[in-house]
């Protein structure tokens, strides 16, 4: 079964009377358990595409199915519930909730979004924090840990709900090279361990070198698709 199926996907933004075509009839298919990156210069439409796949936005035309569900049909509430159940997000700026500890940040989607019972919740959070190497920092607040540690916590938060798909928008942009490689490596491990698909939006060559498939976007048009070096890991 195809996990993401985009057909003639177009997204037009209106800025007053000016219309900006952020995506122009983009079509692609993504299989489950993939490690994929969309690359391209700024303004090429990478983030717009990730927003559409993440049900944060709706296409102007074309169809987009994620896990067999047409995202255009989802109401606000349905989209939120769909995201909570099926998707994980990793952001460039980590976007951890500052008033919650590392443990509570990872616990949040299980507690508030999925209402997972206490024991199971505890077990899943501990497993994920151990996997990303943050269990010993679990009682710290986001402002007490480094950027790399924040992103590892964000990875754990994205995966704690057992999503089928994780969307990572420039996840290494605010990290140094060493930390970036460490985070990428963790994500690759997660992909192997939890059989989850990662889709990146990036122009970081470190990620590009690690993914299985690289899609290139230019001015909203999908111009290239090639196998990445990361394919050898599969």
């Amino acid at each position: 079964m195809i996990l993401v199926n985009a057909k003639s996907l177009t997204k037009v933004y209106s800025l007053g009377e000016i219309k900006v075509e952020a995506l122009k009839s983009v079509s692609f298919e993504i299989e489950p358990s993939s490690f994929i990156s969309f690359i391209g210069p700024s303004g090429s439409g990478k983030t717009t595409l990730l927003n559409l796949i993440g049900c944060l936005d709706k296409p102007t035309s074309g169809t987009l199915e994620v896990s067999g569900r047409n995202t255009a049909d989802l109401t606000r509430e349905e989209a939120a519930a769909f995201r909570g159940k099926n998707l994980g997000f990793i952001f460039q700026d980590f976007n951890l909730i500052p008033v919650l500890t590392v443990y509570e940040n990872v616990e949040y989607p299980l507690l508030i979004v999925q209402n997972v019972p206490g024991e199971e919740r505890k077990e899943r959070v501990h497993t994920l924090l151990s996997t990303v190497g943050m269990i010993d920092q679990k009682n710290k607040y986001p402002d007490q840990i480094s950027g790399g540690q924040k992103q590892r916590v964000a990875v754990a938060r994205a995966l704690v709900t057992n999503p089928r798909l994780v969307l990572a928008d420039e996840p290494t942009a605010n990290l140094d090279s060493k930390t970036a490689f460490m985070v990428i490596d963790i994500m690759r491990q997660m992909k192997e361990e939890f059989d989850v698909t990662f889709i990146f939006s990036t122009h970081d060559p470190k990620i590009v070198s690690e993914v299985e498939t690289v899609y290139t976007l230019h001015d909203g048009v999908l111009t290239d698709r090639k196998e990445g070096k990361g394919g050898r890991h599969v």
Partner: protein, 412 residues
């Protein structure tokens, strides 16, 4: 809900100074309102107590139509002996009634044999009157604190105007209901002060003397003043008594008796009402303070946390949970303000009672202000504050919950 509350409280503690200032503002507002309610309530009840316990009683029963003509003290609208007996039987069977005092009221001429002036005379049974209006004796400024047959207690105004003093002989002349004039000599037994100022012209004598002046063969009562065991049951007893007495009809089928509370008989009731109106407006001001401060702080909270709202929305938090999160923050601010305000108010009221602030009212001096709060006052103000806090947070919370995650995440 507990999980959201935990996060909401953490969010409030994130901006400690702002939360402290906002809840302090609410707390001070709550404190002022409660202290005002307690102090004005104390003032009001002291005043009501002075009027009802010195003169009026809590309730009065007249013959229907008497109150409308009360200025002329019409003897033709007195209750007959038979009606009075029925009334007394009824009153004795109501357990909430502590005492009652039948009175004969009439207008007459008062003379010290040199000068003459008019007087309003109250003929009373001394023991019943003192049981019904227990502060009555404290109004006697000169002379023995008693009402004896053959003696009259005259108001201060008359004593000063006619230069009479305790022990002087005077005469009271009055016209009875048949139009014949009669007079009787009295010794001034005491000088009595008015409750609310120097304008009173009410004198007191034994009811037997009144009957003699008015040549009554059997007693005819102008009014019966009633004292309750519990003032708070005024309306309930009034309604019950009214229900019982309304069954008594005259030959034309119209009710004989008219039951009225002190509120309908004293102009001070309007002052009491004004205090209530002032309290209402003070409460409105509190609502405005809470509304503005909570709305302000919540709008700022939403504006500052747009990206955070985008994040929690992106990871699947339903809009209704985001709405709840901000409403709980408003609710928590209201609760903190209400609890702190109640505590401050109780401390200040305790201190006022400790200091014992005194004031004068009319001719009464040294009345002690004794503010106190009912649990219902505290609960009502707390409920108002918390409700307004949630209502004030509603608009910002709704805005947060309706935010598009894609726009919120893009916010810088």
């Amino acid at each position: 809900m507990f999980k959201l509350t935990k996060i909401a409280v953490r969010n409030l503690s994130r901006y400690k100074r702002r939360t402290f200032l906002t809840s302090s503002l609410i707390a001070i507002g709550v404190m002022f309102v409660l202290v005002f309610i307690a102090a004005s309530g104390s003032f009001k009840y002291i005043m009501i107590g002075q009027i009802t316990d010195s003169m009026l009683g809590h309730l009065q029963v007249h013959k229907r139509g008497y109150v409308a003509s009360i200025d002329s003290l019409p003897l033709t609208l007195n209750l007959s002996a038979k009606a009075e007996e029925k009334l007394e039987n009824t009153l004795e069977n109501i357990p909430e009634i502590e005492a009652f005092s039948p009175r004969i009221k009439f207008g007459g001429m008062f003379s010290n044999f040199v000068e003459t002036t008019n007087i309003r005379v109250n003929g009373v049974y001394p023991e019943k009157e003192i049981s019904t209006v227990p502060l009555f004796l404290s109004r006697i400024k000169q002379g023995e604190k008693a009402i004896k047959e053959g003696e009259i207690l005259i108001p201060e105004l008359l004593a000063n105007g006619l230069k009479t003093k305790v022990g002087d002989t005077v005469v009271v002349i009055a016209t009875n209901r048949d139009g014949s004039v009669n007079g009787k000599q009295f010794v001034i037994g005491g000088i009595i002060e008015s409750v609310t100022g120097p304008g009173g012209r009410d004198g007191y004598m034994h009811i037997n003397d009144s009957m003699e002046i008015l040549r009554m063969e059997e007693i005819e009562i102008s009014e019966v003043a009633i004292r309750l065991k519990d003032f708070d049951k005024l309306d309930a007893v009034s309604n019950r008594l009214d229900g019982l007495m309304s069954k008594e009809r005259n030959t034309e089928g119209k009710p004989i008796f008219d039951v009225q509370t002190w509120e309908k008989l004293s102009p001070f009731y309007n002052v009491a009402r004004m205090i209530d109106v002032m309290t209402f407006f003070i409460k409105l001001m509190l609502i405005a303070i809470v509304l503005v401060s909570i709305m302000n702080v919540m709008i700022m909270a939403v504006f500052e946390r747009i990206r955070e709202i985008g994040t929690i929305s992106a990871i699947g938090t339903l809009p209704k949970k985001i709405l709840s999160l901000f409403l709980i923050e408003g609710f928590s601010l209201g609760v903190i303000g209400a609890v702190a305000g109640n505590t401050l108010a109780l401390v200040i009221i305790f201190l006022i009672n400790l200091v014992k602030i005194t004031f004068n009212f009319g001719r009464q001096s040294g009345l002690v202000l004794s503010p106190s709060l009912n649990i219902s006052d505290i609960l009502w103000i707390s409920v108002i504050v918390i409700f307004v806090s949630v209502a004030a947070a509603l608009h910002p919370a709704s805005k947060a919950s309706r935010m598009e995650p894609v726009d919120a995440l893009r916010h810088v």
